[in-house]
């Protein structure tokens, strides 16, 4: 009897150790990537100079002499993400309100399924459709010489962030206690007033988290925007060919060497810091939501 108990304890301990190791593997990957990206990102910034690197307006990595200013990439990423949020959030948010509060159960099921499917589409497919349909369409609709532009990237990104916005917002709206809405209705408010004055404010931290998640997705996307944005390191303009932080790394990495390669790692470091910042905001919003 005693022996079997100690055996059980040993087994328990072995399993715990295995789980611990698996958990550490995840943490280890994060640490490894962080350390690696900092170590390989710092040298080029030192050599180029932080101010010249971050605020330089010209990127010509293979020219003689080369210039390594990434301000165009930073601004493009910020504008591109901002534009995608501007287009994607109203659509995603209203979709979430509709699905959570208005839609009949059957419709909700079908639409939710479609949203999940949208989330599962590989980014290269978004890029391909964008390249073959959206880019020529922008060219003919707006009468510009070429459709590959910041606008094309914004449109593709706004569709790509829809699933995260819709799904997280629905979860937040569904979690609003039914009593709140019933009380509001009992006081004579219409359904519309109840959803937008009671349910949405009650779920606001969750919805804000959804938007931040969308920002994270948009700023980190490389493949799809690479195929529709033209990839020329111009300062951002709506109908101009532009390059994002992500695509700056991806498009030159395969052929790069020397300082050019190191500078690409530095761009990745800047991107990584952006993502860290966004994650911090995300966590803050989630914690804020729990306190309420």
């Amino acid at each position: 009897m005693k022996q079997s108990k100690s055996l059980k304890r040993t087994v328990e301990r072995v399993i715990q150790t295995i789980f611990l190791l698996l958990g550490l593997a995840t943490v280890g990957s994060v640490l490894l990537i962080t350390v690696y990206i900092i170590i390989s990102g710092i040298p080029a910034i030192r050599e180029i100079g932080l101010v010249d690197f971050l605020f330089g307006k010209k990127w010509a990595s293979t020219a003689t002499p080369p210039s390594y200013g990434i301000l165009p990439f930073i601004l493009t990423s910020v504008y591109g993400t901002g534009g995608a949020i501007l287009l994607g959030v109203p659509v995603g948010f209203l979709t979430a309100v509709y699905l959570s509060k208005v839609a009949p159960k059957r419709v909700k099921e079908i639409v939710s399924e479609a949203v999940s499917l949208l989330a599962g589409i590989p980014s290269v497919v978004y890029g391909l459709v964008g390249m073959l349909v959206l880019v020529p369409a922008i060219r003919s609709v707006f009468g510009v010489p070429d459709g590959a532009s910041l606008l094309a990237a914004i449109i593709v990104l706004s569709v790509m962030i829809l699933p995260s916005i819709v799904k997280v917002s629905i979860t937040a709206l569904d979690a609003v206690p039914e009593e709140y809405e019933q009380a509001s209705l009992a006081l004579g408010a219409t359904k519309m007033e109840t959803w937008f004055r009671v349910s949405v404010p009650a779920a606001k931290s969750g919805i804000a988290a959804a938007i931040v998640l969308g920002v994270g997705r948009a700023i980190g996307e490389a493949m799809a925007v690479m195929m529709v944005s033209g990839n020329v390191p111009n300062m951002p303009e709506l109908f101009q060919s532009v390059r994002f932080l992500t695509t700056a790394v991806a498009s030159e990495m395969s052929y790069s060497s020397g300082l050019q390669r190191q500078a690409l790692f530095s761009i990745a470091l800047v991107l990584y810091l952006f993502i860290l910042l966004i994650n911090a905001v995300f966590n803050m919003l989630l914690k804020g939501g729990k306190k309420q």
């Binding site: 880019v135 033209g230 060497s257």
Partner: protein, 269 residues
């Protein structure tokens, strides 16, 4: 309990398998790494070599000229593939180049574009922004949309050094593959681009340069001027493995030239 044993057994087997692969001997193996433009020709040569020498494994890693050169200098592959000549700094690292073939770079326009001949000078002026409208070169009144490749691409390097437009190009789009360039030019009636002659399809039109049609014959006799070398990069001082040396000798011999020609480029030997 039994389940856990199974899980652990599987884990041991998996990790064992990983290590076994990692320490595999490279005997009877040739690894190449580099230029994506050379995929077609090196692939065909590798297949023929494997067919002639059963048991030999040939690998090709399509990473790009720069990566291929780095890979061979770091000893991660036997032969590096580069579609540009080595830079002096790379030669100083103890690398050696051998010309395998010459590749013509086709200047491509949309099929609906009436322009079918351009001089090298006109092409250079278009890419540097001195000519911005198609009517200046005999086309319709429309802005010229310049499509190019990303910085570091062998095709871009070849094109820019031949047209002498390095660092002066006013690209509208910088795309990361030959296929993207062809697809984009095929979709925009005002676009012009450049791509490896071997990969140009009927979806776009290759213009004549100075009246010379880009073809294997005109690339070989040098009359078609937009062309570049395909290089094999090896380390000086470090001998190749027996299999790799055999492969190197084979592809640079006259026997391989028919296979090289069949893949659309002009054999150097």
């Amino acid at each position: 309990m039994k389940k856990i044993m199974y899980v652990m057994l599987i884990m041991v087997l998996v990790t064992g398998g990983l290590f076994a692969q990692g320490t595999k001997e490279s005997g009877g193996m040739v690894s190449t790494d580099g230029s994506t433009s050379m995929e077609k020709v090196i692939g065909a040569l590798g297949e023929q070599f494997m067919a002639d020498n059963p048991g030999v494994t040939f690998t090709y890693n399509p990473t790009g000229s720069g990566s291929g050169i780095t890979a061979v200098s770091e000893g991660r592959c036997d032969i590096g593939l580069s579609s540009r000549a080595l830079k002096d700094a790379e030669k100083a690292q103890g690398l050696k180049e051998t010309v395998l073939a010459y590749d013509g770079i086709a200047i491509i326009v949309n099929n609906d574009n009436p322009v079918s001949n351009l001089s090298l000078d006109q092409i250079a002026k278009m890419y540097t922004g001195q000519i911005t409208n198609w009517k200046e070169v005999g086309g319709k009144d429309a802005p010229i949309v310049l499509i190019g490749r990303e910085a570091g691409s062998g095709t871009r390097d070849g094109f820019e050094s031949i047209t002498n437009t390095k660092d002066k190009n006013k690209y509208r789009q910088e795309l990361t593959s030959t296929g993207d360039v062809i697809a984009t030019v095929g979709r925009n009636t005002d676009a012009i681009g450049y791509a490896s002659l071997a990969s140009v399809k009927a979806t776009v039109k290759a213009v004549t340069v100075g009246g010379v049609v880009p073809s294997e014959k005109t690339v070989k006799d040098g009359s078609y001027v937009v062309q570049r070398p395909f290089m094999l990069v090896t380390k000086t001082g470090t001998p190749l493995s027996a299999t790799a040396q055999k492969f190197f000798d084979y592809i640079t011999s006259a026997k391989a030239s028919s296979i090289i020609s069949a893949s659309g480029v002009v054999s150097a030997n």
